[in-house]
């Protein structure tokens, strides 16, 4: 009988080789902006960090606790809108606005939790979507507060000072790179801490079999709510960060169902319930999304001679592939769920377990 270490088991610690590699990667990440000047490259990295934060955060409630929220845009949007509104109307710097955003997200998470976590069945999924939709519609309709469909545009981010020293004026992408990297690392750390704690064991028990978990002394509502709160907080951070980085938000960009689906996708593509799953998922989705958006894929198809740029197919591809990312997401979801429900990481694990046999 093959033994497979459970995801939770790591008492012996990490091997020195892995630690060395990890440090090398970390060093490379921190030094990246010193060697790479291209703003586009920095932008891609920032998107990767953002996606990682969203995925790791969702993983805590979806992957570990097994409660699939398809409405995480609610928390993302809460962070984004709170930060932007406070900055634009009260000149409150985003580093405080972020905290306010987290508080709003926590309140929303507590409300959803209070309504759903005592229920059995698919209600949490549905309620999570409903709440996100309520918030999106509220953002559209409360024009005084949110500018409605026009969205909020930042004029400039205040300079960040400690005492008299200016740390950054946010005029290049570099400070955003480091902020994104830091938040991403914090989120990964938080996930690791959850996994290696009583909370993590209890969440996984809830995911595997709620009734059994309940009978072993686990209060379902409290633990699910805790997981959702942590998840909401980090997702809100991602939203605040996104808002300040991009400089413009409106209901479709931060509160729409697509955002929620994308967040779920990041996790299921990489591997649900694992620390590195969301990272892998981001590494797949972000480049794919960018390649589609910038017509890279169409260019590749033409260069490879698979279709001529002038042909009907070529023109169709050029015009539409850029907008096709939602379609690709849909296909990805279906393919992954049907054939790789444990994501890339799970599939790799199966391959290597197979190789180890005999």
């Amino acid at each position: 009988m093959k033994t497979i270490l459970s995801p939770l088991k790591n008492p012996a610690g990490v091997s020195p080789v892995t630690s060395a590699m990890a440090l090398a990667v970390l060093a490379a990440l921190f030094l990246f902006p010193s060697f790479v000047e291209s703003p586009y490259a920095l932008h891609i990295m920032i998107l990767l960090f953002l996606s990682t934060i969203q995925g790791e955060a969702w993983n805590i409630i979806g992957g570990y606790a097994g409660q699939y929220s398809v409405g995480h845009a609610a928390y993302f949007g809460a962070g984004a809108y709170t930060t932007m509104i406070l900055m634009q109307s009260r000149q409150i710097p985003p580093w405080y606005g972020m905290i306010a955003g987290i508080i709003v997200a926590l309140i929303v998470s507590l409300i959803i939790g209070a309504i759903c976590f005592r229920l059995r069945g698919p209600y949490f999924v549905l309620a999570s979507i409903a709440v996100a939709e309520i918030m999106r519609l509220a953002a559209m309709n409360l024009k005084e507060l949110t500018n409605g469909a026009e969205g909020i545009l930042t004029t400039e981010v205040p300079v960040f000072r400690i005492g008299e020293t200016v740390i950054t004026d946010f005029l290049t992408k570099v400070p955003f790179y480091y902020i994104g990297l830091t938040i991403a690392l914090l989120t990964i750390l938080a996930t690791w801490l959850v996994q290696h704690s009583k909370l993590g064991y209890y969440l996984q028990a809830i995911r595997e079999d709620q009734d059994a978990a309940n009978s072993l002394g686990i209060n379902l509502s409290i633990y699910k709510s805790t997981a959702l709160a942590i998840s909401a907080a980090f997702t809100s951070l991602a939203g605040s960060f996104y808002a300040i980085y991009i400089g413009f938000i409106d209901p479709p960009t931060v509160l729409a169902l697509d955002i929620s689906v994308q967040i779920v996708l990041i996790c299921i593509i990489g591997g649900i319930g694992t620390i590195w799953g969301p990272v892998v998922g981001s590494l797949v989705l972000v480049p794919l999304s960018e390649a589609l958006r910038s017509n890279l894929i169409a260019q590749v198809i033409f260069k490879a001679g698979l279709a001529s740029e002038e042909s009907g197919t070529g023109i169709f591809l050029k015009e539409h592939l850029a907008h096709a990312h939602a379609l690709i997401y849909g296909i990805l979801v279906v393919v992954v769920i049907l054939f790789m429900p444990d994501g890339v990481l799970g599939w790799v694990k199966k391959l290597s377990a197979g190789k180890g046999r005999g």
Binding site: M1, L5, P7, A205, E208, D209, G217
Partner: protein
């Protein structure tokens, strides 16, 4: 000395169906109570009512003198009562060790302490060499032992075993019987055992309660039960002690 468990006139209705009807008995600390009866007699329903999976429609359950009515299963567990399930419920994706640790975490927040308690329980059921196996891949006999180990890790005072020998071969059943007797010998855990294996029940039980069609038909020592003509007629048939 107050009895550790008192079932007082417990009834449970599902729509018009009376799954349990006015059931009463008590249990003293340290004993093993056998709970027998034909399929559908209401044995598992009674377990569910006692542990808070759902509340009884009528009647009271007192554990260590305290009324349990309305308490959720997790609180019941923390008070010291735990059950195993008729259809085994391993936490499939977790390892054997992690499964038992989930039980142990009921009494401690330290993973280190939980791990020690868990390994100890795995030794008790003879599974410590399977600690890193994935629970979902175990054969049925080991799943049952795992479930007992996990329940014991919560350090209960009352252990409810629901057909823990169901589906096991004679060697595995014997292992479970020895386990139950060893637990009794330890002196700290009282047990209630639902079983169809009459030979096993006769060997381990101090007293037996017989349920049929939701009602308590009889209660007594194994000898009394086996010689009770109503019990023989309703359930035991040709069984001879």
């Amino acid at each position: 000395m107050a009895p550790i468990l008192e079932i007082r006139n417990v009834s449970k209705f599902f729509g018009g169906l009376a799954a349990n009807s006015d059931v009463s008995f008590t249990m003293e600390a340290g004993m093993i109570m056998g709970l027998i009866g034909p399929n559908g007699a209401g044995k598992t329903t009674l377990f569910n009512c006692i542990t808070g999976y759902y509340p009884p429609s009528r009647g009271e359950v007192l554990f260590k003198g305290q009324s349990l009515n309305g308490l959720e299963p997790d609180k019941v567990c923390r008070l010291g009562m735990v059950r195993t399930w008729q259809k085994v419920r391993p936490l499939a994706k977790l390892s054997v060790l992690d499964n038992v640790m989930v039980g142990a975490l009921c009494r401690t927040s330290s993973l280190k302490v939980a791990r020690e308690i868990a390994m100890e329980q795995l030794r008790v059921v003879n599974m410590e060499n399977k600690a890193s196996f994935v629970a979902g891949g175990l054969p049925i006999g080991e799943r049952k032992k795992l479930e007992v180990a996990r329940a014991l890790a919560t350090q209960p005072e009352l252990l409810l075993l629901d057909e823990v020998m169901g589906g096991l071969n004679p060697a595995e059943s014997e292992e479970i019987i020895q386990l139950i007797l060893a637990i009794k010998k330890g002196g700290t855990v009282t047990q209630m055992v639902i079983e169809h294996d009459m030979k096993a029940i006769m060997r381990i039980s101090d007293r037996i309660v017989v349920l049929t069609s939701g009602e308590k038909l009889a209660e007594g020592t194994p000898e009394e039960i086996v010689n009770n003509p109503e019990v023989v007629r309703a359930y035991l048939g040709d069984f001879h002690a």
